[in-house]
């Protein structure tokens, strides 16, 4: 036991003395979560648009003013004919062109119908969608104003309640995702690389001929990362609660316990990778391409899983991160107790046991 402790201390020294990696390990979650919270939003602001107004009357002027004073758009150019459209878009600065037809106000009030044409630069599809939505809602608002002067028909109002995230903040979505990613990174990637590094440098052999039990060696290598992962998770939760006001509404202890389980899953993945490969570059490639990428894409934290092709949905089931994200969201945002997430927990635990058994088997084949 004393030997093992000595070895453990050595591993801690290795990791904590490498201050660059430390800075990144602790800086990464902080910066990512701040970026997601402050910089990446799903709303638009100061988007540049152009207006082509064939009518130039009071109504078109009023509508233009309404659009430009909304804060979402700024006018980049007034155009005079349709030939200019293409040129404008090719320069890439403006995202939308609003065209008012000729005799707009006359048409509106005499025939009861006037046309506005919106042309969107859809090379950024997501943005085009948002720009269209925002413009449309301003126009609808205007429509309501002019309709108000007339007697209103019977109507059904919709009352919308946004549960769990009334302001539709994106941090709510990203906190669980970032936790999954960072924990994957620290646990699976770092472990696999640090073990293959010892293999590559030949120091693994020295450890293996020492009186330490191989299992002890692996456990000793893994414990520091387990602790690092938990510290990281706590930091993320503290930031999300104190900076973004996304507190944990369920039990902290349950969340922590689930996090430990997930870290262990990730660590066993890292160990498995390191038993399969012999050099750091390959370990990194497998971890990045095989773990990080699917975790980012398929765990449902950036893109909703329900909208993916069925094959990818199946694929997402074998990702531990997917289940962990569901668990974290349930505990953090909905305040669910264990009764609601036992299924996900069981899946995660099952994966962990499977991975550990598999790596023990591989480890033995390699070394004895």
């Amino acid at each position: 036991m004393k030997r093992f402790l000595g070895f453990l201390v050595k591993e801690f020294y290795h990791i904590f003395r490498d201050y660059r990696t430390m800075v990144i390990l602790f800086g990464m979650p902080v910066i990512q979560i701040l970026l997601f919270g402050f910089a990446i939003r799903n709303e638009i602001k100061d988007t540049k648009i152009a207006i082509l107004d064939y009518s130039r009357d009071n109504v078109t002027q009023e509508i233009s003013n309404k659009i430009l004073s909304s804060g979402y758009f700024i006018l980049s150019d007034n155009l005079f004919n349709e030939k200019e459209l293409e040129e404008e878009f090719k320069k890439g600065t403006i995202k939308e062109i609003i065209i008012f037809e000729q005799n707009f106000s006359e048409n509106l009030y005499k025939t009861g119908k006037a046309n506005i044409q919106l042309i969107l630069d859809a090379s950024e599809a997501n943005l085009a969608n948002m720009v269209m939505g925002y413009t449309n809602s301003i126009l609808k608002e205007y429509q309501k104003e002019i309709s108000g002067k007339y007697s209103s028909p019977p109507s059904i109002t919709t009352e919308v309640k946004m549960r769990y995230n009334p302001e539709l903040k994106s941090v709510y979505m990203f906190v669980p995702g970032i936790m999954a990613i960072i924990l994957m990174l620290v646990s699976a990637l770092m472990t696999s690389i640090s073990i293959t590094r010892e293999k590559e440098l030949g120091t693994m052999e020295i450890l293996l001929v020492s009186p330490l039990n191989p299992l002890m060696i692996i456990i000793g290598k893994v414990i520091p990362y387990l602790i690092l992962g938990i510290i990281n998770a706590v930091i993320i939760l503290l930031i999300s609660a104190n900076v973004f006001n996304v507190p944990v509404s369920g039990s902290n202890i349950l969340l922590l316990a689930e996090t430990v389980l997930f870290v262990i899953t990730a660590l066993s993945l890292g160990i498995l990778i390191s038993t399969l490969v012999n050099d750091q570059q390959t370990a990194m490639m497998i971890s990045l391409a095989g773990l990080m990428l699917p975790t980012v894409m398929l765990s449902g934290y950036v893109f909703p899983i329900e909208n993916m092709p069925v094959v990818l949905q199946w694929l997402s089931h074998i990702l531990p991160a997917k289940w962990y994200v569901i668990i974290v969201k349930s505990i953090m945002l909905k305040g669910s107790g264990f009764g609601y997430i036992w299924k996900e927990t069981l899946i995660l635990a099952g994966m962990t046991i499977f991975l550990i058994l598999l790596s023990i088997k591989k480890f033995k084949i390699r070394l004895f």
């Binding site: 990144i24 990446i40 799903n42 709303e43 638009i44 602001k45 878009f89 090719k90 890439g92 009861g112 119908k113 046309n115 042309i119 969107l120 859809a122 090379s123 599809a125 997501n126 943005l127 085009a128 948002m130 269209m132 939505g133 449309n136 126009l139 205007y142 429509q143 007339y150 007697s151 028909p153 019977p154 109507s155 059904i156 919709t158 919308v160 309640k161 549960r163 769990y164 995230n165 903040k169 994106s170 709510y172 979505m173 690389i193 590094r197 750091q280 990194m284 490639m285 990428l293 894409m297 950036v302 893109f303 909703p304 329900e306 909208n307 092709p309 990818l312 569901i326 349930s330 909905k334």
Partner: protein, 373 residues
Amino acid sequence: MKTILHILKKEFLQIFRNRSMLPMIFVMPLVQLLILSNAATYEIKNINYCLVDLDQSTFSRDLAERFRQNGYFILSGNEFSTNEAIEGFKTNQWKLILHIPKDFEKDFRREGKSKVQLLINAEDGAAAGLINNYSSNIVQQFNQDIITEYIPSGGSMNMPPMINVNFTNWYNPELNYKTYMVPGILVALVTMIGTFLTGMNIAREKEIGTIEQLNVTPIKKYQFIVGKLFPFWIIGLFELAFGLMLGRIIYDIPMLGSPVVLFSLTGIYLISMLGIGLLISTITDTQQQAMFIAWFIMVIFILMGGIFTAVESMPDWAQKLTFFNPISHFSKAIRMIMLKGSGFKDLVREFTALSGFAFLIITFAVLRYRKTN
């Protein structure tokens, strides 16, 4: 010159002998294009919803029917109280609860006013916004239809004038997300090749000790740097060509602009990314460190660069910062060239900015790189 050729020969031999290199060059773009472009859509389809119909009238059934037939929604439960339905949020059975109160039809007929309640699981704020949009539209349409259907068409009502809004999506009329994602993925690919491989390659020589051997030779700094960076520059350009080809074959992504413009811009862009890789290797001792720093920088650059999230949706200060992010210029330019057919004269700003970065970063990296400590 001859020295550079010797270094180049050695680098290429090592690169192609590395077992993980070829899969990386060929498999990574394929996987990314296949998985990423399919996974990454912000479109919302197949929304599971729960119906709480307390009215059980013709109206309520008609409205429920419209949700069922809309195509975006899938009915996955019927409950008789909102509280029970909310349990379903917790177990992730549905994202939307459509609550039709008692007397929904009666109120409408008698008082000309009634309401439905939409409860949306808003953990994912953006998706919740879209669900709200879709369902409100259905309710509105329903409203209009029943006005004409149930209210006798007494011309007595003074109909308000209507503004009719049409819209056209240029360059990607069907808002095909793949057309949007593929250029973004190409940017990510080229960038990763540039920074990761360069950073790790030099860190590797440091780690195994061969860098010292090189440092006692009369190799000049510029020879070493050119010899180290040039192979990855070629690989980066090749990666772009390969990715473009795959995008064309698999998804029929258009390439409206001139390949010459695209490749020369990529060439310039790659220089700055390779420079960043070189810089990373000057401040690290091991591959592990190099990889982490590269990852860190990449995450920030990609998130802030407008590849997958629009720059326009960032706050002011963040939008200003994107000017200093080479990725944002490059990802903007690649979409302009591929999807809009923009030419050199439309891209003067991007060319200038990227050349500036390339020059600055390389100069800095060369100054930082030392043969003697």
